[in-house]
């Protein structure tokens, strides 16, 4: 990894950065949740970093560790052609992490996916709902304590229909009420 990036990180002494490490040529930066949005904004706007791409957001589950979840962000800079991996902890009791959607709009779906798969709550996300699975799905399948073979009851037409029919009826009566 580029040495200039490491020195830039060291010289800036950003508040909230707990650890800067290198693993297999990749830079890993551990950040406190409270400082995440600030750190991300600096990383994006400071010309020494210029991380304009948020490539990926995901989480890793380490049961028994505190904090249990690690939310992982992969950033890329188009201008300086370097990468960094940010890591933020999230505890099992209250898995809350601030959303970085104000910094990168593309975080929207990525955080929705991480919420769907791990149940991490992204505070400040404009539209935090499941993205792959259906609303009635129970649990978060990529957590290590979710059994792979577990079956979920299928949501049938009968479960969905009453609500749909009700909505349709309401809409119809609004529109065509006077004809009925």
């Amino acid at each position: 990894m580029s040495q200039s990036l490491v020195t830039a990180l060291a010289s800036q002494a950003l508040e909230g950065i707990v650890e800067v490490a290198e693993s297999r040529g990749e830079l890993v930066v551990r950040v406190l949740p409270v400082a995440l949005v600030e750190v991300c904004t600096t990383l994006r706007d400071d010309p020494a970093f210029a991380f304009d791409f948020l490539m990926d957001v995901t989480a890793v589950d380490y049961p028994g560790r505190e904090p249990r979840f690690e939310v992982v962000y992969h950033l890329y800079s188009l201008k300086l052609n370097h990468r960094v991996r940010l890591k933020v902890g999230a505890s099992e009791a209250s898995p809350h992490v601030p959303s970085v959607t104000p910094v990168w709009r593309g975080a929207n779906w990525l955080e929705r996916e991480t919420y769907d798969m791990y149940g991490i709550q992204f505070d400040g996300h404009p539209d935090l709902r499941r993205i792959y699975l259906y609303e009635e799905f129970e649990g978060h399948p990529l957590r290590k304590d979710y059994p792979k073979e577990k079956r979920q009851p299928l949501v049938t037409r009968a479960d969905v229909e009453p609500a749909q029919q009700r909505r349709q009826r309401e809409r119809d009566s609004e529109r065509y009420g006077r004809w009925q």
């Binding site: 693993s23 297999r24 990749e26 304009d52 791409f53 948020l54 490539m55 990926d56 995901t58 890793v60 589950d61 992982v72 992969h74 890329y76 188009l78 052609n81 990468r83 991996r85 990168w104 709009r105 593309g106 929207n108 779906w109 990525l110 996916e113 798969m117 993205i131 792959y132 699975l133 399948p141 990529l142 792979k148």
Partner: protein, 407 residues
């Protein structure tokens, strides 16, 4: 977002207060004849103008990561074929490069060249699919059939390399399933020439076709800033004038030894995306031709008993190799603990694999950063305020691949 907000934001649309009634709600998909992907687009329309849209993905979600975590490292390779089934070998290569990075090994030159050639064959197959299906959804059937015929030639090459046409499972951790067959270079040149001859006809039918241009020019425009903010990569971003190509900016395999151009567009509309893909087809052919000419002799696999099975003759006659084979078959490859992120240039953008190993034979985490996911996210913004008919070419040129987007 409330309806009135969307109405006032969209350029060239009438605010809802001027509407006599409520907006028309339209559901496109999940299985729509004019979209080549399983996706649902909820639209609110005023006449034919799009006031609001919500793109819903996940219909092909099958738990790629959970399945990978349950198996050994090598057992995940067939799953990667099914991520982007239009260019399976690029997925194989991306995953195997990530695991090799964990081990800290590098494949010998011949293996690297063959991987490069196979990747570009897959890229051609992906672009043929995208352009053919795109034309078909704009009601041009002939280019679709021609492109499928061109793709058949690419699949013939897949078949020559590994026996399978679609789900290749060709690349192995630390090498390849098998060496290229005898006469592969000649076959490759012949098939490429045949595919290019067919594609020349497709170009004649499409590039200057007034109907095709009308549908594509000036539609689905997104600025480079917007695309970057959404993490969009690949042909979409290059069509907006940003020459980001991982084969050039962060070269892997042998791309730094090969000469090729990175085509970029000007306006970032659908027509530029089409032109960029057309040019990339030519560049891929150039890459394959150079790689074939420079293809060195030698082994294709790393000589490392942690990754590749030793030769059978030695297993039957020597103790060490017998133990190696036994351990590799029963426990699988066991990379040292740690984590890596490895990105390759997929046919639609940056394809990344983030793998966390705890030192056991199974990945603790195997994450795929798929280009289609980020690219599809921006669809709503691209069609905001546009005509309903513009959704089709925009969606085509985004080239959302369900298997990769939904994983």
């Amino acid at each position: 977002m409330s309806d009135t907000d969307a109405g006032s934001k969209a350029p060239g649309t009438v605010g809802l207060d001027e509407l006599h009634g409520e907006p028309l709600e339209l559901q496109m998909g999940p299985s729509h004849p004019a979209t080549h992907g399983t996706v649902r687009i909820s639209l609110k329309l005023h006449g034919e103008r799009i006031l609001w849209s919500d793109v819903q993905v996940g219909y092909l979600h099958r738990g790629f990561e959970k399945e990978c975590e349950a198996g050994e490292y090598a057992q995940a390779i067939p799953y990667t074929d099914r991520l982007n089934y239009a260019s399976p070998i690029i997925n194989n290569v991306g995953y195997c490069l990530a695991v090799e990075k964990l081990f800290g090994v590098e494949v010998p030159p011949r293996g690297q060249y063959l991987r490069t050639i196979a990747s570009e064959i897959s890229r051609l197959s992906d672009h043929f699919t995208c352009l053919g299906a795109g034309a078909m959804e704009l009601a041009a059937m002939t280019p679709f059939l021609y492109c499928m015929q061109a793709r058949e030639h690419m699949w013939d090459l897949h078949e020559a390399l590994c026996g399978a046409r679609v789900t290749t499972n060709y690349v192995r951790i630390g090498g390849l399933q098998s060496d290229a067959p005898e006469g592969f270079a000649a076959l490759c040149r012949e098939k490429l020439a045949a595919a290019l001859a067919i594609f020349a006809d497709v170009e004649r039918m499409l590039t200057e076709n007034p109907i095709f241009r009308d549908r594509l020019e000036g539609t689905g425009i997104a600025s480079a800033e917007t695309l970057i903010a959404y993490g969009v990569t690949g042909p979409l971003l290059r069509a907006a004038g940003v020459p980001l190509d991982l084969r050039r900016t962060q070269p892997y395999l042998v791309y730094d030894q090969l000469d090729f151009d990175v085509p970029i567009g000007k306006t970032g509309d659908n027509y530029d995306r089409y032109l960029v893909r057309v040019e990339e087809i030519r560049q891929s052919v150039r890459i394959i031709e150079q790689a074939l000419a420079a293809l060195p002799d030698g082994p294709i696999d790393v000589d490392d008993p942690r990754l590749r099975l030793p030769p059978k003759g030695r297993v039957f006659n020597r103790m060490e190799e017998l133990i190696d084979q036994f351990k590799l078959v029963t426990e699988g490859a066991r990379p040292p603990a740690g984590e890596v992120y490895q990105a390759v240039e997929g046919a639609n953008g940056e394809l990344g694999f983030y793998i966390v190993s705890n030192g056991s034979g199974r990945p603790w985490k195997c994450r795929c950063r798929s280009p289609s996911f980020s690219n599809t996210q921006v669809l709503g913004e691209m069609v905001q305020g546009a005509l309903l008919a513009d959704v089709v070419p925009t969606f085509d040129m985004i080239n959302m691949i369900g298997g990769e987007c939904d994983r």
